[in-house]
Amino acid sequence: MNPKLCTETYNHSHPASIETYLSLGGYDAWKNILQNKMPRSKIIEKIKDSGLRGKGGAGFLTGLKWSFIPLIEGQKYLVCNSDESEPGTCKDRDILRYNPHSIIEGMLIACYAIGASVGYNYLRGEFMDQQWKVFNEALKEAYKFKLIGNNIISSNINIDIYALIGAGAYIVGEETAMLESIEGKRGMPRIKPPFPAIKGLYGKPTIINNTETLASIPKIMLNEDGWYKNLGLNKSEGMKIFCMSGHINKPGNFEIPLGTPFADLLKSAGGISNNRKIKAVIPGGSSVPVVKGEDMMRINMDYESIASAGSMLGSGGVIVMDDSTCMVSVLHRISRFYYAESCGQCTPCREGTGWLYKILSNILSGKASLNDLEQLNRIAFQIEGHCICALGDAAAMPVRSFLKNFWSEFEYYVDKKESMVS
């Protein structure tokens, strides 16, 4: 049995209640820190040593990120990024509605470690009916139990946590765009440096972490050094939630050790549906390169292994496609997304995503030539690395990988004006 960091409460009858969380040792890590007046540096070192990596997509070492916060006194902020909207990713929505206290405890520990007196959890607007209500209710409970607020458990520590809501913009998941959004502006990414750890929200040092990352913190703090690291398999460190979607029998979220073979994960998700064959997998949300099914079956679910197959672990959104899938249509859909979600700030992204979508639309309507396929590659190349944030790259990488791995299918569509598979 794998240990559960973020998903432990999921199968309980009242998963989101503070009683359930407390009965499973919840808030023990937080109380322990306060009662022992644990030095901040010790927490940061422990998280650093655990090998915990950011689970929103970039995979940056969490403890290292925290250590960038200047030691000087003054206002600092923590932001939890619950603006989950990377296509294929639906893990944070479940943590928010089934285990909100793990997020609150993780945020409290992070606030303490970086010296922030205020933490904001930014939820995407579309979560307003369920996750928003559950999380706000959990906050109220935590205040009632005096685990947040002023002079928490007579420690002289004051930390307030607030929930914030977005209103529909994928780009706000980019950390500096999120800061702009919290400041009440359009979600347009900032030029880095300065990095948020130096100059973030309202110009103050700020750390932004993903929901799953923060929800993993309490268990790491509660266990002995090296515990989290050793949970991984095949030389990998730690755990990850993978969101299995697409042509599979049992779509769902699976919290498993990093390094687990993809074949095992696929089996847990019930295998490919309708007795069909696996054709392709997008292993980390729609922004990462697509991998051929047969290559996927040979690799493990960890950063290095997926990189060796030419892709990235990203957010853990695993989209599985069977042999009935038209890759031209899938790429067309992905390109529409980045075209719609580009904030419009940088020209290569604003114009380039539009052209990618337009050319792919032309292929689908039988109005494209083989020259257009080369043109797609050229445009992708011109977007990549030329913008303030990674959205442009995220639009370009699928295009290049779909063309590389399924060139003949695109050629067939241009030539015959119909899909190779239908």
Partner: protein
């Protein structure tokens, strides 16, 4: 017709609570949530008069409000039908038949994406991208409530229960 929009006392109270989440003199931070509150009060959309009233209430510039209202897709700046339907049709949902679901709804309600029905009962929202329910696809939100693992039958029942 030229009367100013009056923010209700109830909404004022809700907006005051939003402002309290932020440091002093950062009332601009409250714009997004305030617009969602006012949109709810005004049949699902925001007018220029509402933007003006909110700008005065939060002591920010009108343009600050306008920028936010036109950037975020959940803020409607035109009148829309009473019940908002949002069908996810990004990749995960598409692989499981969301295109059929969407065209069924279009046919059933006799509207295209981005339009409201003649009786103003439904608004089929445009610019809908991944709604983070990928393992429940195909899915849609009706008035922000999730309906997952949709079939044509299920969609019919949901829409009829709302009519």
């Amino acid at each position: 017709m030229n009367e100013d929009y009056i923010i209700s006392d109830n909404s004022k109270q809700l907006i005051d609570d939003v402002v309290k989440k932020f440091p002093n003199n950062q009332s601009r931070s409250a714009i997004i949530e305030s617009l969602l509150i006012l949109q709810h009060e005004n049949n699902g959309f925001i007018t220029k008069k509402i933007m003006k009233a909110l700008a005065i209430y939060l002591t920010v510039h009108e343009i600050d409000i306008y920028e936010v209202a036109t950037f975020y897709t959940m803020i409607n700046v035109h009148p829309v039908g009473k019940n908002t339907i949002a069908v996810c049709n990004n990749v995960s949902c598409m692989l499981r038949g969301s295109d059929e679901i969407l065209s069924h709804i279009e046919k059933k309600l006799n509207i295209k994406v981005g339009q409201s029905t003649k009786d103003n009962c439904f608004y089929l929202k445009d610019e809908i991208e991944c709604l983070a329910a990928c393992n429940g696809g195909p899915m849609m939100q009706v008035n922000h409530k999730n309906y997952e693992n949709l079939t044509i039958d299920k969609v019919d029942k949901i829409l009829e229960s709302i009519k």
